[in-house]
């Protein structure tokens, strides 16, 4: 198991991957920017477990906060509305802090 790559508050982006199979990353988050909230846990990879494999090494899972306006450009509501989603680390990449 590799050590967790992120820290709370860090800006991240969900990879715009569309692999076949069973994964836990909701489509509405793919390619979207968010911020790390906290580390949930380190869990066997559900994309492997879905096929009866052990899913090891275990994968860190992060809670990521997304602004609604990032997820849905036409979102009608205040800027502070947000969605918190558990995302498995292989789906996340760091992005530069907004300057």
């Amino acid at each position: 198991m590799s050590p967790p790559r992120f820290r709370p508050g860090q800006p991240v982006r969900v990879k715009a991957w569309f692999p076949p199979g069973h994964c836990r990353t909701p489509f509405y988050t793919r390619g979207k920017r968010g911020r790390i909230l906290d580390l949930v846990d380190v869990e066997p990879d559900p994309e492997e477990r879905a096929y009866g494999r052990p899913g090891l090494p275990a994968v860190p899972v992060w809670r990521v906060v997304f602004d609604q306006h990032e997820l849905w450009p036409d979102y009608r509501g205040p800027a502070q509305d947000r969605v918190v989603v558990g995302i498995f680390e292989p789906w996340l990449e760091p992005v530069e802090e907004a300057g």
Binding site: R24, V40, P78, Q80, D81, R82, V84, V85, F88
Partner: protein, 225 residues
């Protein structure tokens, strides 16, 4: 509406249904009248194998089902009421729901549960967009609407419209935070204690905390006297 097929309408019209005079009502479909699905067959096969091999006894299965069905939102409500009256307990609840539940003799199960706290200016609501993850051991079985595609797809897309349909209108001064249970983590909402409950004991407070308050589609309210 269920009633005797040979009922007498006592002069009332068939307002909500229709059947020719003298004929029986159409039957309500029984549980077994739906299709026998692949997963039902799989479940039956596994159960029969476990019984045939002596791994489980029928009484154990019955007892387990009874135990699952005995869970209800009253368990989550007890945690909320204790948190409202005991700030130290509230801090422990926010840190670790499962451990805090154990303090009250409640087995919240092995899957970690987080409490998300509503505050002035911040409201929380829970969904599982992928399937129907739900803290069953604290809240009992999920309501059907929680598992429906309509709720799951819309509450992340237009949460304010969905909450308004539940009767919860939130102004722009209140941020709406939606929690999508996509990993091995479940959520319960810790609502704000309503005004007008000063001095209430835990039992009375817990009665205000309904299932929908614990999901976040409603807020506890004090019944008007």
């Amino acid at each position: 509406m269920s009633h005797d097929p040979d009922h007498d309408h006592q002069g009332l019209d068939h307002e909500d249904h229709d059947h020719p005079p003298g004929q029986r009502h159409p039957f309500q479909p029984d549980l077994e009248d739906g299709p026998y699905t692949w997963h039902m067959a799989l479940t039956d096969a596994i159960e029969q194998l476990l019984l045939a091999k002596g791994i489980l006894r029928p009484e154990q299965i019955r007892r387990t089902l009874e135990d699952i069905d005995s869970k209800s939102p009253a368990l989550g409500a007890r945690l909320v009421a204790r948190a409202w009256v005991d700030p130290a307990f509230k801090a422990r609840l926010l840190a670790d729901v499962n451990a805090a539940a154990a303090e009250l003799g409640i087995d919240a199960g092995p899957i970690p549960i987080r409490a998300v706290e509503c505050r002035p200016g911040e409201h929380h609501v829970v969904v599982c967009t992928l399937c129907s993850c739900y803290p069953r051991l604290l809240l009992g079985a999920a309501p059907d609407w929680y598992k429906a595609r309509a709720y799951r797809s819309r509450v992340v897309r237009e949460p304010r419209a969905v909450l308004a349909e539940f009767g919860l209108e939130l102004g722009p001064e209140v941020a709406v935070v939606v929690h999508d249970s996509t990993a091995e983590l479940r959520f319960m909402v810790l609502p704000e204690r309503p005004a007008g409950t000063e001095g209430w004991d835990e039992e009375r407070l817990a009665a205000l905390v309904t299932r929908d308050c614990l999901i976040g589609v409603a807020r506890p309210t004090v019944p008007s006297a």
